[in-house]
């Protein structure tokens, strides 16, 4: 007799990826925001408001 083979549900796999994906995406988003400074014209930095 073959052993019962209960497959992991897709929802469980999705949730597992969500647990690590959300903080990861948050970090990437913040880094991208900071990176945008590189493409800003130089004269906009440090000027009096």
């Amino acid at each position: 007799m073959g052993e019962s083979k209960k497959k992991s549900s897709m929802v469980l796999i999705f949730l597992a990826w969500l647990v690590v994906g959300v903080p990861f995406a948050w970090g990437v988003y913040h880094t991208l925001l900071n990176s945008m400074e590189l493409f800003r014209p130089a004269q906009t930095h440090g000027g009096p408001k």
Binding site: K5, S8, F24, G27, S35, R40, G46
Partner: protein, 481 residues
């Protein structure tokens, strides 16, 4: 002797002993368990421990614990605080090398649990160091205890991932080690936002930030601990059959960690990793001043900060993309690409500056490729080790190889700073000083290229000959009752 049991409890005599929740036996995957649940478990660990690369956000606040808004004479100096990070990285290499063999026996769950406890405890002890203003407590906490957690956490999911993805070992380890790069992207804004939240007129907020981060990281790491599963013996992916065509560099045999340590292949890969990392750290260390000096008046400090952020994204992406590519083009060929591409681009990089081509875009693109190669070197090495030595002790062998990282962590910055200072003292302008540094980095990559060229399959005399020589987890226990 290793298999002898010096003492048996009454339960063991009756055969009723229950393995602990953390034991390898309790983490064996049931039939039907999806292997796609394993990378998130590994990522949960690496995303946390990767925080170490964002430790610099605490540097200034730690020097203002007493003055809060400014450093007082009795506050710690930046040079003293810098030792915390160095200590953590040294401990990473040492603990990975020392505990690798234990990890192979204990299994990934127990090792990941130990990593989580050490990493969180490091934050808590550092909290005590902050509130009592005792720097040695932070050295012990974040540096020694936390650093031990880094080493354990870094190597613990590697062999498990390789066993779950025998068809794509590069992709599997790339996913996890990409997480280590991604950890800095989370740790930096998290640390800054928590310090801002806890900051008051009498408190920099660092202590409470350590407490919260330790707890959050511990919880996320526990998700990894209880999600990780090792495949059952003889498990293989559906619809996958191992290649019957022998591949020169992919062994079907097994080499244990102590034997691997004595092979020339191990030391050639040690040089491969060390040269690749040294060259990469050289550019990472100097990224911000380099772009400002090569493009004087065009790139201001804030923009240079953005450039460093962009590099960290490419460092992370390179880890995944290059190691995945290595599954298709082969590990040795991937490192050839790293070394040739790197050597050429290091020579071209200073030519993009204001005195030559004056192209910021070209400079950024080349630096991004170089840093992706640096990350790719880290992520591809476990699969290279697996190809040469088999999966049997791959985490432990990887752990010992990481001492190359510790050496490169010192060698890279020292080499770059010393050579640059020497140039400046001899009248070379600041932009020109980089040229010599980058030529030396290019030469260093040629050393790595040669080491890679000399790598040959491991000789038969090093293979484990029979099952009786096995002491590790791949086999059922060989006990003589």
């Amino acid at each position: 002797m290793r298999d002898s049991i010096p003492y048996l409890t009454p339960q063991e005599h009756l055969g009723k002993v229950e393995p602990s929740l953390l034991d390898r036996e309790r983490s064996i995957a049931p039939p039907g368990y999806s292997r796609w649940l394993v990378p998130p478990a590994a990522l949960a660990i690496h995303l946390c421990i990767g925080q170490v690369y964002s430790f610099s956000v605490f540097k200034i606040p730690l020097t203002q614990l007493l003055g809060v808004n400014k450093s007082l004479p009795s506050d710690w100096k930046q040079t003293q605080v810098a030792w915390i990070f160095s200590l953590a990285i040294v401990m990473l290499g040492l603990s990975a090398a020392v505990f690798g063999r234990w990890l192979e026996k204990a299994g990934p769950r127990k090792a990941m649990f130990a990593a989580a406890v050490c990493f969180a405890l490091g934050f808590y002890v550092s909290y005590l160091g902050v509130v009592t203003h005792q720097l040695w407590l932070i050295y012990v906490g974040f540096g020694v205890i936390g650093g031990t957690g880094l080493g354990l956490g870094y190597i613990s999911p590697v062999s498990t991932l390789i066993k779950w993805f025998p068809d794509r070992p590069g992709l599997a380890t790339g996913m996890a080690i990409m997480g280590f790069g991604g950890g800095a992207l989370i740790g930096s804004p998290l640390g800054i936002q928590l310090m801002t939240h806890f900051r008051s007129t009498q408190d920099t907020g660092v202590g409470k930030t350590f407490l919260v981060m330790g707890t959050l990281y511990f919880l996320l790491m526990m998700f990894g601990v209880f999600t990780i599963r090792v495949p059952r013996k003889d498990w293989k992916p559906d619809n996958w059959t191992p290649s019957v065509k022998p591949q020169a560099f992919v062994t079907t045999h097994k080499v244990d960690v102590d034997t691997a340590f004595r092979t020339k292949q191990f030391w050639l890969l040690w040089i491969v990793l060390c040269t690749n990392v040294t060259a990469g750290i050289g550019i990472l260390e100097q990224a911000s001043p380099m772009i400002q000096e090569l493009f004087k008046g065009t790139i201001v400090p804030v923009a240079a900060g953005g450039f460093v952020g962009l590099l960290s994204l490419f460092n992370m992406a390179g880890r995944f993309l290059w190691s995945t590519a290595s599954d298709y083009i082969g590990r040795k060929q991937t490192y050839y690409v790293f070394f040739v591409l790197g050597a050429v681009l290091y020579l071209v990089l200073p030519r993009t500056g204001g005195d030559h081509l004056n192209s910021v875009i070209l400079f950024v693109c080349i630096a991004a490729i170089l840093i992706s190669v640096y990350g790719g070197g880290f992520a591809t090495i476990p699969a290279y080790l697996r190809d040469l030595f088999g999966t049997y002790h791959v985490s432990a062998i990887h752990g010992r190889l990481l001492t190359a990282w510790s050496v490169a962590g010192v060698l890279g910055p020292v080499l770059v700073n010393y050579m640059r200072d020497y140039q400046l003292q001899h009248g070379v302008d600041s932009a020109g000083a980089y040229q010599t540094v980058l030529v030396v980095m290019s030469g260093l990559l040629m050393v790595g290229f040669t080491a890679n060229l000399l790598v040959r399959p491991v000789e038969q005399k090093y293979w484990l000959r029979s099952a009786s020589e096995y002491t590790g987890p791949d086999l059922e226990p060989q006990r003589s009752h």
